[in-house]
Symmetry: C2
Subunit: 393 residues, 2 copies
Amino acid sequence: MISEKMYELGSKRSVIRELFEFGKKRAAEIGAENVFDFSIGNPNVPAPEAVKKAIIEILEQENPVNVHGYTSAQGDAEVRKTLAESINKRFGTNFGADNLYMTLGAAASISACFLALANPGDEFITFAPYFPEYRCFVEAAGGKLIVVPAQIENFQIDFNEFEKRINEKTKAVIINTPNNPSGVVYTEETIVKLTDLLKEKEKQYGHAIYLISDEPYREVAYDVNVPYVTKYYNDTFVCYSYSKSLSLPGERIGYIVVPDEMEDSKRVYAAVCGAGRALGYVCAPSLFQKVVAKCAGQTSDISIYRKNRDLLYDGLIKLGYKCVKPEGAFYLFPQSLEPDAYAFCERAKKHNLLIVPGDDFGCPGHVRISYCVKTEQIVKSLPAFEKLAQEYK
Amino acid sequence: MISEKMYELGSKRSVIRELFEFGKKRAAEIGAENVFDFSIGNPNVPAPEAVKKAIIEILEQENPVNVHGYTSAQGDAEVRKTLAESINKRFGTNFGADNLYMTLGAAASISACFLALANPGDEFITFAPYFPEYRCFVEAAGGKLIVVPAQIENFQIDFNEFEKRINEKTKAVIINTPNNPSGVVYTEETIVKLTDLLKEKEKQYGHAIYLISDEPYREVAYDVNVPYVTKYYNDTFVCYSYSKSLSLPGERIGYIVVPDEMEDSKRVYAAVCGAGRALGYVCAPSLFQKVVAKCAGQTSDISIYRKNRDLLYDGLIKLGYKCVKPEGAFYLFPQSLEPDAYAFCERAKKHNLLIVPGDDFGCPGHVRISYCVKTEQIVKSLPAFEKLAQEYK
């Protein structure tokens, strides 16, 4: 009687969310300090003081009717102007307010793009390992998600496998760099090769192939350049969120960039607005629109993630785990110590290690470890990882 | 190439939003004080001081990682418990945390219900005058909106017309009381008659017919009882938003109640969670979840709306306008002075009166006047309404 599809989505919750809920329950049983919960990408580094300061300033100085009132559906014009200028300054782009559409974070950003673009039969290609909710969002928009298998030696793009899958039905390609779950950043070489290929395919098929750059981790990168994709390819959407850069994942705030250079740019922007409307977004949260504008260009203390990465990566390598060294985000994606990552994660649970099987990310034989946790948790967890490894010796 | 449906939704924006944007432009030209913008339901009464106090208390006392972090998808458990207790206290219900699902406001609340319920071919019935976005949300969920014509003498329900439209394909009935745009509150008699009929039809068709009570204006009511619908009918969703009661429309915060007494309650709740996931909601904004819990049961200063209602209603009646006296919300819905309400509203624009044709609310020959504006604007606008009326004499 009700929608079985929605029942299934709601009852078979994502593995990550399941583990998150399990972790909360387990913590209540044995104490949070004894649960090594590496399951969820909930930043543990607090929002910078600038966020608190901005909120209080806005509350003290501005009229509450404006602060908490509806903004235009695409977001407050002043906010969009400020953010566009900040992007231009940092990345040498040339966006204006009308190239930005404020959203309820990354999930809303990509959902609105998918719905704006998808016609029945359209295919959306992504590269393993990939964020599992992509499937849910693409299918909700009426599209079909096509996954290119991972190039496991370095988690860049396997172009042979990609070329086998791109075809006339390809509406868009989704990339996520720095990547969840691998932590890998696509090199400029990868971006150039990808966008050159897309340009060639656009000509061959005679229609636009959009590139959706899902980049909530842009600022969480260690000594490495994260290419700004609109500079390489006109038909690029940038989907951004402040969840990680300002540690505001619960506040649901981000944006989409639709560059003027995109084919049919104005029509596409209107379709994004239409998608946001159909999805019931109305407008992005108004106070936090103003907050992120006041904090434009700032980030949380990323150095803590780097410290965690070094500690956990070095620790696991020493214990014999195999892992591509990540240069961004806050995930490690090592190989599981048995081919079945689910079985491996179940075994890890017995040591109170909550880690996520790679299968749902389209990459079996691997596990995701979110290291956006207290450094102390990493230190305390290493003996548990050691015991886990010993089970396989 | 892109989705034409989304392009259309995004380019043919709702009449209300169009007028809102026009009003902002016009204000820049001739000064805000000379534009009598009655187009949008953006509360002009500020959020109560308690909201500001709650925000600052939370920021001062709680860990920012928790304040701004992800909550469970259905909302923070403590928040849901507090809100359930507040509802129970005020309305004599018996809900617990697990009956509530926190949302991004009213649009998200009803969108999630529609998507949770709809299977292809399902019909959703509502009563004119109705909020025009219902059509957009029902169709986005794959359902079909069926409209029962208005009973224009009092804007209660025309049960003859309703009985002609309810049938085996009816999945749900949507009511909105206090009503946008008529301001009318359904009497207990109307609710009893409606729910008795629904019970009879459930038996006749052998399946649940859900009642979706969209009630963002519950607290904006003047000396009149707004029946709490779950007490009359088990298969009721309550869709609530704090946009009006706490003057937080831009913050996107509300909830859905799924009572235990509903048929298949647990499965329906799971489907609501699934719908929220598919729509990209992730979780309701975390800070404002905590804020509304701290402000449970409080409201903005509703007396200002009553004063505005009296002033505008009495003024218009004196000028010869015909209007059902509204007992809630902050809208007046008088008859237009010519049969074509669009033409009437265009004529009104020339007097800098921005009012909305009733056609989009399924009720031609009427116009919506949102009186959630400064009382001064109402006083200043009456001569313009007089001039407008004189054009028809």
